[in-house]
Symmetry: C2
Subunit: 414 residues, 2 copies
């Protein structure tokens, strides 16, 4: 089955909104073993929607549209699709009632134009919208299946999960299972070389993706059911992890370094604290992004100036004067300080120059000192994060990830 | 001039990478008054790239391609485009030299396949790649202009800024200038009603966009030069801001609440500090995302448990016991505590239940107390952030933005 995605909406076409529907839907389709060969985006324009639907009908079996299901004259996806599959739009009483109820629940007055949303292609499967007014639908005609979904992600995603995914699951005679091996600070070409001699069994593929500072190796298996697919993928993922070595922080159990750290700390019943200068709360934010982090994280300090490093973390002024504010000695003192004050088992500290200003010949932009300590050891690194151009976000994100990677390794040693 | 964007790359098509090129390029084109009517994405497949280029050639004057300029057999964008415009690919000596030098600079050995990247359509304008090996190009033929750009954003964006933008500027006989009015916590429909009676002069349009917790009203003016466009847009933006009232935090001078706060603090020579519980460093992170924030922000505390709120911020245990850890009283005590300890002029504090766990009947998930104080006043709010389903990120982001909006209003009062 060949699928095509048509994203409809002037705000998407003109770039005012980044098109996240495309990647969401394409990945979901892949998980059901459905190939996607084309994606396109057009504005809220009848001729161009018509043209896109016709073109898709000529080359694909399954069309997924997003957007253009609103109540206004702009919203003409259903008309174009109905024409392409040779169906009429008919009034769907139950959907009209749902729309009325939605307005009632919100306490808003009901504009008559919203009844337009209850017109759907004859004989379609209606997809109820729990989070908005526009119902979606699955309709068939002229050898084509078209799934129409509303544009807002908060409506589209639950509708996909609740209605479209179960429908596709029944259609498909195979499932796809992916397991992601993740490693920090490894280049794609390096990973490519390390895994090049892995022979995969039939139905299993390996693909590397470079993402930010990480490499993700996706091991994908296609099989009749999820159990068989898992059984095929797991040993290959394990082999990939062995080949990549200790830079691997997850063979599928975690989606980020922060999640890995929180998981390891939870499992060992330990706590960590943070003392941040140039990362300015980013590491604490990354840790507390993870649900349940409150059991392993109690204190984070953001000390952006020398005085606060001294007052709040007990970093001696002599250390700052002697080694400079951006030094491993200061990072170590910060880590030690916050660990003592918090009673945590581990602590992370950062001090550096994130830029764009503040660089000097001795400590140019991108110089960051990171320290991680436990009860009986201390480890620190001076990083020179070089980019072709200064990039504050990159420097902050890289050093935060580097610090979490150090923490993961140190917790693991225990 | 009608433009079309063709994004090439299997990783984009299959959704492994979100397509950010489309929105970047579409917005840039709009700024030069160039209309975009179509965007499509295909994988690294010769037939489908050919098909996409031919289709675009039949309906657009300007085609922008991204991706498929790499050194491998997969990378066939140039071949397809050259065929469509009736040109041959020829070896470009200078680009070959640049590629060699790039490898030398990186200290890597040079694979011969990389010479493929130096073959470019005859007579094209070569776009040097400062951050990678694949040169881009602008080529013309059969009434068509095609701009080919490399796939990696860190190569594409600088190439656009350094070479493509100046080229398009010369082509265009008009410029577009946009000014964004931003307001926190206002619905799109409410904004729509408030601005509905504004009459815009010719060449000026108003469009509202709902983004996260904000509404952005974009006032766009098309004119012969930037000075005239600004002159047309500015009074309309001012009028929009007046209509929306005090929820507006920027009429174009800032892109985020955090930037607005940092700017106002800088201008008034004041400092702010943060004490965060449920937002866990997010507010500090948002403030320190802004370059130059070190002059207005020196101390942030993340106190995730009652004990640390007491020890580090001086929140009395009786206050916690009497009113509960999620209470305006505790938030106020946290704000007061961090302001005293930091010597800042203002302080923000948050305490709440971000979820998914931790809710109780009295303080369900989404309950967040926010306090902001200055030297002589204190202000706090108990928020009940309701979503159709629990959403930790949403609760954290909304309460962080709410706190920054309170800070902005309080700094403004001074």
């Amino acid at each position: 089955m060949n699928a095509e995605i048509i994203n409809i909406g002037t705000e998407l076409l003109l770039g005012d909104t980044v098109n996240t529907h495309h990647s969401f839907i394409a990945r979901e389709l892949a998980a059901f073993g459905i190939n996607t060969y084309h994606q396109c985006c057009v504005g809220d324009n009848p001729e161009r929607i018509d043209e896109a639907v016709k073109l898709a009908a000529g080359r694909s079996d399954l069309i997924i549209t997003t957007g253009g299901l609103g109540p206004t004259v702009d919203d003409i996806t259903k008309q174009c699709v109905a024409k392409a599959i040779g169906k009429k739009l008919v009034f769907h009483q139950e959907s009209a009632k749902r729309i009325e109820e939605y307005f009632e629940r919100k306490g808003n007055t009901f504009p008559d134009t919203n009844y337009n949303q209850a017109y759907l292609p004859q004989g379609c499967i209606v997809l109820n919208n729990e989070y908005g007014t526009a119902p979606g639908c699955i309709c068939k005609g002229k050898g084509l299946t078209v799934i129409m979904l509303p544009g807002p992600p908060r409506e589209l995603i639950p509708m996909w999960r609740d209605s479209v995914a179960p429908y596709l699951e029944k259609l498909s005679d195979s499932v796809i299972y992916s397991q992601n091996v993740r490693a920090f600070a490894m280049s794609e070409s390096k990973a490519d070389i390390l895994i090049s001699d892995i022979k995969t069994p039939e139905g299993v593929t390996i693909a590397p993706y470079a993402k930010n500072n990480e490499i993700l190796i996706r091991v994908t298996a296609k099989a009749k059911n999820i159990k068989l697919a898992k059984k095929a993928a797991e040993p290959v993922a394990k082999l990939v992890a062995e080949k990549l070595g200790d830079k691997v922080y997850s063979t599928g159990e975690c989606e980020s370094l922060a999640e890995k750290c929180v998981k390891m700390l939870c499992e060992s019943g330990k706590k960590a604290a943070t003392a941040e200068s140039c990362t300015g709360g980013l590491i604490a934010k990354m840790i507390t992004d993870i649900p349940g982090s409150s059991t392993v994280f109690e204190l984070g300090e953001v000390c952006y100036c020398a005085e606060q490093k001294n007052l709040r973390l007990g970093v001696p002024m002599e250390t700052i004067d002697k080694f400079g504010i951006v030094s491993c000695q200061v990072a170590e003192a910060m880590a030690k300080g916050v660990m003592e004050k918090s009673g945590a088992d581990f602590a992370i500290a950062t001090t550096g120059v994130a830029g764009p200003g503040g660089g000097t010949p001795e400590t140019p932009v991108g110089t960051v000192c990171v320290a991680v300590c436990g009860k009986e050891f201390m480890c620190s690194r001076r990083l020179s994060i070089k980019r072709e151009k200064d990039d504050r976000d990159y420097v902050r994100n890289y050093s935060a990830a580097y610090a979490l990677d150090m923490l993961r390794r140190i917790v693991d040693r225990k």
